[in-house]
């Protein structure tokens, strides 16, 4: 899968925060102005490096939330006991500098040439790289059919809610809310299991291309269930985030 900046040195560079946008009470999208950005693919991530006055350094990886061609953006979820995420969601502001390197990754990427039908499975903040894929699909005019199954604790935790409520033609978005549902909720209200997947996933015979992203436990459960239902492992791509408190 040829891509941008796959070869050659990966160097740290200084970006400027151009804007911040709160997606939910604990999730913020940070829009960046990256002077030497080589371009990226949908699904890639970047590494952020923070340096404190006493020389302490912390590094973290964040999926790129924007499509190729759009300004670089990352979406960060504040972890209660986190060291870096609270800084990014609560302290960092427009005009600040942010040291980063990227884009990184060539496995968990999608472009229109990869085809479909696409099955996207998001657990919590795992939605971020999948949203980049959806935006890329729309910007390129791809007609590949997509089903997105997105697991969140509650409606208040759904990231990019307005955007996902108006999906592009050919995209179906199915939510499951695992802890709290609003009154009158007629959708799924449990963690993703084999039965739920059986109702939502493309039939294995349609040779779908699948991307699963979220906490490790979510990715393991979902990818195993898909493979057990006949999905070829080679076409189920996975990206595990650290446990975020679960969905």
């Amino acid at each position: 899968m040829a891509g941008t900046a796959l070869r050659g040195r990966l160097t740290w560079q200084l970006a400027k925060v151009s804007a911040v946008c709160d997606e939910t009470a604990s999730v913020r999208t940070i829009m960046l102005d990256v002077p030497d950005w080589p371009g990226h693919e949908a699904g890639q991530h970047l590494d952020v490096r923070l340096t404190a006055e006493d020389g302490y350094v912390a590094e973290r990886s964040y999926s790129i939330a924007s499509a190729p061609g759009e300004p670089v953006a990352i979406t960060v979820e504040r972890l209660d006991d986190g060291e870096v995420s609270p800084y990014l969601t609560d302290e960092l502001r427009a005009g600040d500098e942010l040291e980063l390197r990227g884009p990184i990754g060539g496995y968990f990427v999608w472009g229109p040439g990869d085809g479909g039908p696409l099955l996207l499975l998001a657990g919590g903040s795992g939605i971020v790289p999948l949203r980049a894929i959806l935006r890329h699909r729309e910007r390129t005019g791809s007609a590949v059919p997509v089903r997105l199954l997105y697991s969140s604790r509650s409606l208040d935790d759904v990231i990019y809610q307005a955007e996902l409520d108006r999906p592009a033609p050919g995209v179906e978005v199915i939510h499951t809310l695992t802890r709290h549902q609003p009154p009158g909720w007629a959708g799924y209200a449990r963690r993703v299991d084999a039965a739920l997947l059986g109702e939502v996933a493309w039939p294995a015979a349609s040779m779908p291309l699948t991307y699963v992203c979220g906490p490790t436990s979510f990715v393991e459960a979902v990818s195993q269930a898909l493979v057990q239902s006949g999905y070829p492992p080679l076409r189920v791509k996975t990206e595990r985030f650290g446990a975020t408190g679960g969905t």
């Binding site: 490096r49 923070l50 340096t51 404190a52 302290e91 600040d96 040291e99």
Partner: protein, 201 residues
């Protein structure tokens, strides 16, 4: 140094009056971070054993036998090479002095062998004289698997990677062969007060 990130600082506790107990480069934590190089082993107690000695001449205890040995309650400070320190941690275990006496063996060096394949090396002088235990309880409770249970080595005066989790034997040796992390460039000894994190420090 990299450019400073405005307003960023490490998550830390102010050591206050305890500052003298924090080795250089460390910061104080109140929780107990879990660091692993692999999946958590789960060894059933009826299959667990602990051995001390060399080659074919090992003294081995079953779990019940081990728990019947004289034990000590100790409260110690612990220091991880990843820079966190935790003060006043309470453990219960068998002193390595006791184990070596009962095994009737000695030697200049020891290699700790653990479930999951982890190893670490120590001079026997750092395991004796009341400086080390094989601990099976933490905070008054049986040691949880993610923290090294059923039992782990506890050698608080060295960086905590030497306090090998899921320990199953201390193999006495004549040479100070490097264990798992020591092989990859971690310091062969690991004194937190001299910041001996990596080889060459």
């Amino acid at each position: 140094m990299s450019p400073l990130s405005r307003g960023f600082h490490r998550r830390r506790q102010d050591p206050g009056e305890n500052a003298g107990r924090i080795p250089p480069g460390q910061y104080l934590v109140k929780d107990f971070p879990v660091l692993s190089a692999g999946p958590t082993p789960h060894t059933a107690l009826d299959r667990w054993s602990f051995s001390v000695g060399r080659g074919g001449q090992q003294k081995t205890w079953s779990w019940d036998e081990f728990r019947a040995l004289p034990s000590q309650d100790v409260t110690v400070d612990i220091h991880c090479v990843t820079k966190w320190s935790k003060l006043d941690t309470a453990w219960q275990g068998v002193s390595v002095d006791t184990l070596l006496d009962l095994a009737g063996q000695d030697g200049p060096f020891a290699m700790a062998h653990c479930d999951g394949g982890y190893t670490t090396n120590l001079p026997v002088a750092d395991l004796t004289g009341g400086k080390a235990w094989v601990a099976y309880a933490y905070g008054g409770q049986p040691l949880e698997p993610e923290h090294g249970g059923p039992a782990r080595l506890l050698v608080p005066h060295l960086y905590f990677w030497k306090s090998a989790k899921w320990v199953r034997s201390l193999e006495l040796r004549d040479t100070n062969d490097p264990g798992f992390w020591e092989n990859y460039g971690y310091h062969i000894y690991g004194d937190p007060w001299r910041e001996q994190r990596y080889a060459g420090d």
